[in-house]
Symmetry: C2
Subunit: 535 residues, 2 copies
């Protein structure tokens, strides 16, 4: 894909065709300067959306029948096309989001890595989940016929781009990559905060489809009025699952719409988390100042606009905790705020910090400086005790941006009580040294029930894309605690099992045929066997 | 467990304690004689239900920490206790349901087999879903820390007994067995149509808990006023998932309640399916009369009260189809109806058959004779064409009981159109011979999207409990198409993944420890490896 095709059109891409919208216009907006960006993007209406969903349904039959190699190369080709765009993509994303270049270069790498790891998953084929219970014609009192199971893709998927990851959770991000890997066409609703970034990536996907001679209905990129077109998309009977990353209000609205359909469908919404971090006494006695600096770095990075930012930090009362608090104040004095993604998000942050600071018993513990750009507020850290946390639901709410609340706890019982009252979380973090193991062991069972990921001596911001990652957790962290939106397990969200009983081999799909043409590991009579063991 | 403990008490079992209910009374009822059965069962109220859910929550921590061998033996002990009851269980179930002895003996075998196969699953441990991405300290630009994933049980589960399988889908049925295998305590709401059967099995579970010195909160059996106590149970914040088998109305009501909770939870409801059976011309030309007889047998067995009963049968127009229809009439003339489960179900059947028979273009094709017992209606088979099916939603509704609708189709296009308009189904069945393969291949992709199980040259009634079975399917067959309620995959319904990042080995749970003490097959860096390969 040559870069001279990157002149932005301001149009949706409906099954490969650039299409001006019938509705109003929006523009990208540079939050660092408060200036609008060209071009204007015209928004589609419900009848135009139908073109995308109908094309996705039409494309499903052929897309889900691809051989693994063609399918995997298609995903890799998207990654290659995104890289081929070069600096233009990063520059546009910087202008639209205010995020720094290094962060966006890293995010682009993660996005392409994500597509390539799903290509490996497609080639390997474990996600087909093949199970074979061979016939037992001699069994008494009743013979058993041959039964085989595989997982098939659910159908077209609606994906909503997140504001805070314009690449890795957006157009070709984790939801799109895992849905395409499962064999599901995607209708992608762009986030209006980074329309140009979305278009560039959307073209990379479209070019990959065209180069592989696949059905263009596999992917559409739509710009639309946020709430109404989103509701129309989730209501469309051809859509069979939804991926979303965003606010609790937005996610629960989509959940309600999906549940009210004549045919309810699953919604995978990653929403709200305050990501508790627990300091144990031993860890603080090792290096209170170092921990304070690391904490502040995790709060301020990406202007705090990360799903896994540490919003709630438990620090023991007593001398070590006081040293930590003092170091935090010192560190904050030389820390500047960074530009936030949009004016709307900035305004919400200001309101949230004001609300938190005015709660009874909550004090401002440390504050940084405003940044030099627009929409770059002073990072703010508050402090209170366990009693206040237990008694006040406001203290459990996520403030999206560089703000955090320190909870001083008196002893193990105090800590356990507080943790057991938290809502569901994406992450829970433990800062400890060897002397803390007994105390840690006491809270681990509580945290397993609260969080999707538990980590030790690190910071939750920074989500590795691998096979073991869980970016999920109980509500309201996500709408569906049975899965993850990052890592290869995410493909399971878009699959469902089908059993084939007594079907002649020539009529079976490839993954189930006796000759095992795709060389899959399959579960035979309950035991996993690789291709060589299935003689 | 000695049989002299089997004097029925008419009481709920709340965490091991027989407890009379504060509410009204119900009785088992013999549908073959229209006579009430002793004893009366007193119904609990909401405050008594709280005892069960609180005990389940209290028991969860220890139950989910059991070693595999203790856990597996507990499941096997339930099976042994059920068998030890002897004929008393089958006799009581016969009296309460009108089902014949052979069917209930078989169902008891299936129920115990189901518990034992889940014991094998627990011993093997693949359901822990362990994934390990080892640390890569030298990776550039960023090192990777060790990340490990396992699945843990979701928490206490509410299970609702089905009327039509008083053993296999009831007190110790598939939902209970898979939830207990996952490590989830169960609060079981008995179906009021077979309270005595439920109590006998409930005691078998309670005795197994006691014998193994487990926390009695692992299981409660409650009798309650159907709708209200069911809603209270699903609303209880300690309940984290729901298993249900029953009507579409009942299932969707629970789905709505679960979705409206402050913390929404998954509902696995198996509800409504008409299980299309498709005859191709070749199959009929082989043996139209034999097929007619087998069809009638599948319709009439268990008085048609099976989730997978063939409610919709596609037969080609033309001579072979006419021969089939004539044979059906002949066969029906010597076929008698069997007692239905309850008077209420009988009345619903009568109403459903009356509604179906009065639809435009629908004719009564064949009718059997009434049975000699009470509530044993004449099996009824209707006939119409594809145009009527497409235009009339009434023809898509399940009639629970011995009734079925034959659709005469003219050609492949006619058939494909009809199949593509069906709602989601538990099963789809193809009757074919070698000459039909081309026609079958054309409809298979349609059926994969409609059904959880596709079978050839058999009848869908009869669900094998194995590793490859899917008893599931798109809505309204079930509320959640991603899973099954029969077979070992059902355990996945009650699990969720948790990631452990950079956790010291001594703090890791056993399935994740480096020494792999449970000898699990684990996914290392994306590739499944058995215990011996994980050096």
């Amino acid at each position: 894909m040559s870069t001279d095709t990157q002149q932005l059109t301001g149009q949706s891409i409906l099954a490969g065709i650039n299409t001006p919208g019938n509705g109003a216009e929006v523009r990208g907006f540079n939050p660092a300067t408060n200036q609008g960006l060209d071009p204007a993007y015209s928004l589609i209406d419900a009848s135009q959306l139908e073109l995308a969903t109908a094309a996705a349904e039409d494309a499903f039959a052929s897309f889900r029948s691809l051989d693994p190699e063609t399918h995997a190369r298609f995903l890799e080709s998207i990654a290659g096309n995104i890289e081929a765009v070069g600096t233009e993509l990063v520059q546009r994303a910087m202008a639209e989001t205010g995020l720094p270049e290094a962060r966006l270069v890293g995010e682009r790498g993660r996005t392409c890595n994500q597509l390539r790891i799903f290509a490996q998953v497609v080639r390997q084929g474990d996600h087909h989940g093949v199970r074979i219970d061979p016939a037992l014609p001699e069994r008494a009192p009743m013979p058993r016929v041959d039964i085989r199971q595989r997982k098939i893709p659910v159908g077209p998927v609606a994906v909503f781009g997140a504001s805070n990851f314009p690449l890795a959770f957006s157009t070709a991000g984790g939801d799109t990559a895992s849905a395409l890997a499962a064999g599901c066409p995607v209708v992608f609703k762009a986030h209006n905060a980074h329309p140009g970034t979305s278009e560039i990536v959307g073209r990379a996907i479209t070019a990959a489809i065209s180069d592989a001679n696949l059905n263009p209905g596999i992917f559409s990129l739509v710009y639309g009025p946020g709430a109404s077109i989103g509701q129309a998309l989730v209501s469309d009977p051809r859509i069979k699952a939804v991926g979303f990353t965003g606010s609790r209000g937005g996610g629960t609205a989509l959940m309600a719409t999906a549940a009210a359909r004549p045919e309810p469908i699953p919604v995978y919404a990653e929403m709200s988390s305050i990501n508790p971090v627990i300091f144990f006494a031993g860890a603080l006695s090792d290096d209170a100042a170092g921990h304070a600096k690391a904490y502040l770095g995790s709060v301020v990075g990406s202007s705090g606009q990360l799903c896994t930012a540490p919003g709630l930090v438990f620090v023991p009362t007593g001398e070590e905790g006081d040293t930590f608090a003092a170091a935090l104040r010192t560190e904050a004095a030389t820390t500047a705020g960074q530009t936030m993604l949009t004016q709307g998000i900035y305004n919400s942050w200001v309101q949230g910090v004001q609300d938190l600071g005015s709660q009874p018993g909550v004090e401002l513990l440390a504050q940084g400086n405003k940044g030099e750009t627009e929409n770059a507020p002073a990072p703010s850290i508050f402090s209170t005790g366990v009693a206040q946390l237990l008694g006040n639901p406001v203290l459990h709410e996520e403030i999206f941006g560089a703000a955090s609340l320190v909870i001083r706890y008196t002893d193990a019982a105090d800590l356990a009580t507080a943790l057991s009252k938290l809502e569901g979380q994406l992450t829970a973090t433990l800062q400890l040294n060897d002397s803390d193991h007994e105390a840690v062991a006491a809270v681990l069972p509580i945290l397993e029930r609260k969080a999707g990921r538990i980590l030790v001596n690190g910071w939750p911001t920074g989500v590795e894309v691998g096979h073991a990652m869980v970016h999920g957790g109980p509500f309201p962290a996500t709408s569906d605690t049975r899965t993850t939106s990052v890592g290869t397990l995410a493909i399971e969200r878009f699959l469902r099992p089908v059993a084939y009983q007594n079907i002649p081999d020539s009529l079976l799909p490839a993954p189930l045929q006796q000759s095992n043409p795709w060389k899959l590991t399959r579960r035979i009579d309950g035991t996993l066997k690789n291709a060589g063991e299935q003689a």
